[in-house]
């Protein structure tokens, strides 16, 4: 038997007759060794090419070991695991400065003792000179918050009556779902014209087994006319007791009210809206029963992938969790596992059959071929072919971009379209997603939130050519390197016509505990402050966290984020769900740089929100694009309305809508500062 000589995989050589030595590989053709280094045309060499001289059917087989196929990619220890710091005081510099100071005072004393005022003055000057020279440039510090200026976002949680606190159920056993948190939703469940709030909750567990408790449920809060919220969970039917993760909202039966899909660690639940403020668990009847393949699902999105007028559903599955597996940090202390400790899972695609039922078409659609560790999902037309596609944020591996093909199936084009990896070609721990046109070029741009030591990544859309990683140029790179991002949302906070960015942060590995008295000692080690960025135009962002201090300063283990205009005053407010902490509601009080318009395209007869529609408003020489989308961020559902900051413009000239089925209509312009609801079929046809 010939020896394989190169290093590589486990190798079976010479067909199926025996194993090569492990660690030996393939690819070098054996050469006769008796030819003193010269090319040798001996019979042995000739035999290689002449089948008549070889036994037929010889080949090479590579036995693939787990290590070679599924082993975790080599990562820098700085990127994974262990204790990683957030704030750092330059102790060395400060010490040095203190020594300089002490030394200078001694010099001064000497001069004064000598009774020489002139030398004393000289010493003062010398001291000042040394003190000035010793200053080192501070590293990338943001300006301190203006103490007298009000925060651009005001915490109105307490006054609003939202009392939800997420239950993670930490037992010290580091049950992985504990650290992943849950999502939230802003949607009008009772059709009274304002946004209600829904929170997904964890559940008690022990030894890796869930122990649901009727007292620990998801919670629904109804917005009252006076702006407060009332907990209406008990009568709503939305009180699932599973270990909840995410929520998707959409009118699946086109009856004008919004249905809800809740993802869990285990069975997911579909709630049909009864139209009277209550919901019915319709999971089995609707065809969503996944009890046979119970998985850990994360984000979900309703979208009309086949453009037949009803909403289909995409569900991301995270990984095949084994609670018996334990993990440790770099110092050997127990901590939560990372995603690569487990195998990924296939996502699911359900087709709405139009009769109140759904069919699982995961395999026939092509979605089933890929397995990933999906956490976030957004649906939109990413390659400008008019068909809806799906982007999935995978944790610790290549993201997926499912492009819809002519035959109705999907194919993953994430690598060639430049969104699978970051600019350096590296997989990142993608979790949350923000989607919007940040450079106002009418192409969608994507932002994925990541682990600390990885920046969040901004992919600028280039149309059918794909995306370019513009993180460095955008100013978002270094600013997010020391936080772990989850929820993310683009919103035009100041109405200047470009999309700003809010990021919800919280660690997944233990770090230096934050000063956060509102959290237990355990969770302080995972808490982080949030971040807010103002778009300065052309997709360059300025860190404005200090201006939004009330929203960002207090560290939590942030996870879900939903945005919407809760008080219908024309600006976008923010709802945050924190892992093992209280939910937070922030009112947008950002000084306005302009006027606004909110467009809510609807489809008659049910007045169903046109999820997937693209709205373009034109005013003067400007035009802006916003999409009608609920699912984005992390595990959360936003109000899908299209919000436009118009700058100084008092009206828009036209509103152009590309409906989910591809039809395009134009509507006449309207005055600024109002909500408008264009109805499909009532506009004029447009190209």
């Amino acid at each position: 038997m010939n020896r394989a000589t190169s290093v590589g995989q486990h190798t079976l050589r010479s067909g199926w007759h025996g194993l090569a030595q492990p660690g030996r590989g393939v690819s070098r053709i054996p050469r006769p060794t008796d030819c003193a280094g010269r090319p040798c045309h001996s019979a042995a060499a000739i035999a290689f090419f002449l089948p008549s001289l070889r036994r037929r059917g010889r080949g090479r087989f590579f036995l693939q070991s787990e290590a070679s196929l599924w082993s975790n990619p080599p990562v820098s220890p700085l990127r994974k695991g262990g204790k990683i710091l957030f704030t750092f005081v330059k102790g060395g510099t400060e010490n040095a400065h203190a020594l300089h100071t002490a030394g200078s005072f001694r010099v001064m004393n000497r001069f004064f003792i000598a009774g020489q005022p002139c030398t004393a003055i000289a010493a003062i000057i010398l001291f000042l000179c040394i003190a000035a020279c010793d200053r080192k440039p501070s590293a990338n510090k943001t300006a301190p918050p203006p103490t007298d200026a009000p925060s651009w976002f005001t915490d109105i949680t307490a006054e609003s009556g939202i009392t939800f606190t997420h239950f993670a159920g930490e037992t010290g056993q580091y049950f992985y779902p504990e650290i992943m948190g849950s999502g939230c939703a802003l949607f009008d469940y009772d059709n009274d014209g304002d946004l209600d709030a829904y929170f997904i909750n964890g559940c008690p567990h022990h030894d890796g087994l869930l122990a649901p408790d009727a007292a620990v449920t998801n919670q629904l809060f109804r917005r009252e006319p006076d702006g407060t919220y009332t907990n209406v969970t008990a009568n709503s039917g939305l009180n699932d007791t599973g270990f909840g993760m995410g929520v998707a909202v959409g009118d699946t039966d086109n009856d004008g009210d919004l249905d809800v899909y809740v993802t869990n660690v285990g069975l997911n639940i579909f709630y049909r809206n009864n139209g009277d403020g209550t919901f019915t668990d319709d999971t089995t009847a609707a065809g969503f029963d996944d009890s046979a393949v119970q998985q850990w699902s994360a984000s979900a999105a309703f979208f009309d992938f086949d453009r037949d007028g009803d909403l289909d559903l995409y569900v991301t599955n995270y990984l095949n969790y084994d609670a018996k597996k334990s993990c440790r940090d770099k110092a050997g202390a127990p901590d939560y596992c990372g995603p690569l400790a487990f195998e990924g899972a296939s996502d699911r695609l359900y087709r709405n059959d139009g009769d109140g039922t759904f069919t699982d078409i995961t395999d026939e659609s092509g979605i089933g071929v890929a397995r990933g560790r999906g956490l976030g999902v957004v649906c939109a037309d990413f390659n400008d072919d008019g068909r809806p596609d799906v982007f999935v944020a995978n944790d610790g591996e290549a993201n997926l971009l499912w492009i819809k093909r002519d035959d109705g199936t999907f194919a993953d084009h994430a690598v060639s379209m430049g969104v699978a990896f970051n600019m350096m070609g590296r997989s990142e721990a993608s979790m949350g997603i923000a989607l919007g046109d940040v450079d106002n070029d009418h192409r969608l741009d994507l932002l994925c939130t990541h682990l600390h030591s990885e920046s969040n990544t901004l992919y600028l859309g280039q149309g059918s050519a794909g995306f370019e990683d513009a993180t460095g140029a955008s100013g978002l790179g270094a600013a997010s390197m020391d936080t772990t991002g989850f929820g993310a949302g683009f919103l035009d906070a100041d109405h200047d016509g470009d999309l700003d960015l809010f990021l919800v942060n919280g660690r997944v590995k233990r770090g230096t505990p934050r000063i956060a008295d509102h959290l237990s000692r355990f969770w302080q080690a995972y808490a982080e402050p949030d971040l807010f960025f103002i778009n300065e135009g052309d997709a360059h962002f300025h860190n404005a966290t200090s201006q939004a201090a009330e929203m960002c300063d207090k560290p939590f283990v942030g996870r879900g984020l939903a945005i919407g205009d809760i008080d219908r005053d024309g600006d976008i407010d923010i709802l945050v769900s924190n892992d093992a902490g209280p939910a937070k509601l922030f009112r947008n009080d950002t000084p306005r740089k302009g006027r606004w318009l909110v467009v809510e395209p609807i489809v008659a007869p049910g007045r169903t929100p046109a999820i997937g529609a693209v709205v373009t408003v034109t005013f003067g020489k400007q035009s802006l694009r916003r999409d009608i989308r609920s699912a984005s961020s992390y595990l959360s559902a936003n109000d899908p309305a299209a919000h436009f900051g118009l700058g100084d413009h008092g009206k828009v000239d036209t509103i152009r809508i590309v409906w989910p089925d591809g039809a395009t209509e134009s509507f006449v312009g309207v005055a600024a500062d109002q909500y408008v609801q264009p109805i499909k079929g009532q506009g004029s046809q447009a190209k």
Binding site: Q9, G15, W16, L19, P22, S27, R28, I29, P39, H41, I46, P51, R56, G57, R58, G59, R60, F62, L63, Q64, S65, E66, A67, P73, P74, S76, P77, K83, T87, F88, K90, G91, T93, N95, A114, C118, A122, L126, C129, C133, N140, K325, R328, K330, A331, G332, A333, S346, G368, A398, H413, V415, A420, F421, M424, G425, R426, G472, G477, A478
Partner: protein, 523 residues
């Protein structure tokens, strides 16, 4: 006196008041003059030693030895850190000891405490590039100025140490300075024109600037330099898409997905050095696995055994040890370790895979097959289980079943050339050379710089008496791998084989065609 004039002119006090209090040198008493002179000397000395307003290095004072919180750490880690701290306390002047402490702290996740240790080492050995390089890894990533300064320092001290330049380039990209990053990559290439990381970086930067053709050229060089570099294939795929070569883009994307990632940090000896200080079980396990993977089996197994002693109930460590022993051919030792892992986690596919591999190596093929089938029952989409099933079936001469298994693997995990080569061999064995050729071509498509694809293809062509095609396959290999001396040998061998075959058989051309027409694949 000049000094006094200077002093007066720079004083913020009104000149008159200064004059009023300042003694006139000419009229001062002898005692006053002496004291004034003394003060002037002291003052001048001070100015000279401080150097005016130039930035000064901090004085050679000893920093406090960092003391991280080790309350939850494993005893071995605590011991390691304490030893490193004591070494510093014994030799506080030693940059090496400070640096070692920094490395130990960094290896165990105490980055914050590692910073002052490295900075102290840097201060005491300002010409040692290791400390600025390592401190750049310990700083929080938001400390962009400090990181850049440290990396610039490392580059200045040792301009030929490419990991510092590569890290600096990446840092600059992240902070929106692509042109400065390109300079670093170019500098690396001046030293080593085939550095794949620098070529990749330059390619990425060209892609970002919209210089797509240039990017493609550079990335092709990177591909030749490192044929299994996932990130290069991903970037090439993007370039092809931008060049509207969609089919090529799709092929490259599939290949990228099938490869494991490789970072420039994997070639950084300083990272390996600090990682070697780690003594926690999981890091020992990881390092042991890495060593086994690069062929240093004995050292790797020793580390894995240490890890298993620290953490005897952790399945992943037992699995790593078992796999390492298997790879080293120590199957009798591997089997009980893997069986123990299976006892702790009976349905964990990764454990079962390694156990199956060990069984296969022991030629216990039926048991191996059973294990791989068990994995597929747990997870029908487990690609590795399909692959290994194919391998075992092939060894059992169940060739058609093996083809099915490998086909399933390809469906789940496209872009893997070696699976296509396996399929080629199986089809060849089943006397289906045309299908075998197709599989070889698939393998070459996914990895054009892999020699065995061409040689297998050439051999298949020879089998069909297609000598020109065989030569063409090897010539194609030569074009794509001009630096590979083996190809010229192979071409010589092929020519010799052809001569031998012709002299032995002297087949007429018509027969060739007839053979081809009669071939089962043709029919």
């Amino acid at each position: 006196m000049r000094l006094s004039k200077q002093f007066q002119s720079k004083s913020s006090e009104p000149r008159t008041s200064v004059r009023a209090d300042f003694p006139d040198i000419k009229t001062a008493s002898r005692h006053t003059r002496t004291e004034f002179a003394l003060n002037a000397i002291i003052f001048a000395t001070l100015v000279a030693t401080t150097g005016g307003c130039r930035p000064q290095p901090p004085p050679q004072t000893t920093a406090t030895v960092p003391s991280p919180d080790t309350s939850t750490a494993q005893p071995a880690v605590v011991q390691k850190i304490n030893d490193a701290r004591q070494a510093v306390e014994s030799s506080p002047e030693s940059a090496e000891q400070w640096g070692k402490l920094g490395m130990v702290l960094l290896a165990h996740g105490h980055n914050r405490e590692a910073v002052p240790a490295f900075e102290e080492a840097r201060k005491r050995a300002p010409d040692d590039y290791r400390w600025p390089h390592l401190v750049s890894m310990a700083y929080p990533k938001s400390e962009t100025v400090a990181i850049e300064s440290a990396l610039q320092d490392a580059v200045r001290i040792n301009p030929k140490f490419s990991p510092s330049r590569l890290a600096l380039a990446e840092h600059l990209i992240r902070n929106g300075q692509p042109d400065a990053a390109a300079e670093q990559y170019t500098a690396v290439l001046e030293t080593n024109p085939k550095n794949p990381h620098a070529l990749l970086g330059l390619g990425q930067l060209n892609l970002q600037k919209g210089k797509i053709k240039k990017a493609y050229e550079v990335l092709q060089k990177a591909r030749v330099a490192a044929p299994a570099y996932k990130e290069v294939y991903a970037a090439l795929s993007r370039a092809c898409r931008r060049l509207k070569r969609t089919e090529e883009a799709a092929t490259l994307a599939e290949r990228a997905k099938a490869l494991t990632p490789r970072s420039h940090t994997s070639d950084d000896p300083l990272i390996h050095a600090y990682q070697a200080e780690a003594v926690d079980a999981s890091t020992l396990s990881q390092r042991g696995t890495d060593l086994v993977a690069i062929g240093q089996s004995e050292q790797g197994i020793a580390l894995l055994r240490r890890a298993a002693q620290i953490d005897p109930e952790t399945v992943s460590i037992l699995r790593a040890l078992g796999a390492g022993l298997t790879r080293a051919g120590r199957l009798d030792e591997a089997l009980p370790v893997l069986e123990n892992a299976r006892r702790l986690a009976p349905d964990r596919p990764r454990v079962l895979i390694d156990l199956g591999v060990a069984m296969t190596q022991l030629n216990r093929l039926d048991e191996a097959l059973e294990i791989f089938e068990r994995i597929r029952t747990i997870d029908p989409r487990h690609a590795a289980a399909w692959y290994n099933t194919g391998t075992v079936l092939a060894r059992q001469s169940r060739l058609t079943d093996a083809i099915d298994a490998f086909e399933n693997y390809v469906t789940l995990n496209p872009g893997d050339p070696k699976t296509h080569l396996n399929l080629a061999a199986l089809h060849d064995a089943l006397n289906q050379p045309l299908e075998a050729i197709r599989q070889c071509e698939q393998a070459i498509k996914y990895e054009p710089h892999r020699l065995d694809g061409y040689t297998q293809l050439a051999r298949l062509h020879v089998k069909l008496n297609q000598w020109p095609e065989a030569k063409q396959a090897l010539q194609q290999a030569a074009e794509r791998m001009p630096d590979n001396p083996a190809i010229a040998d192979l071409l010589d061998q092929l020519a010799a084989a052809r001569t031998a075959a012709q002299s032995a058989q002297n087949p007429p051309a018509a027969n060739n065609n007839a053979n081809r027409a009669d071939h089962p694949d043709r029919r």
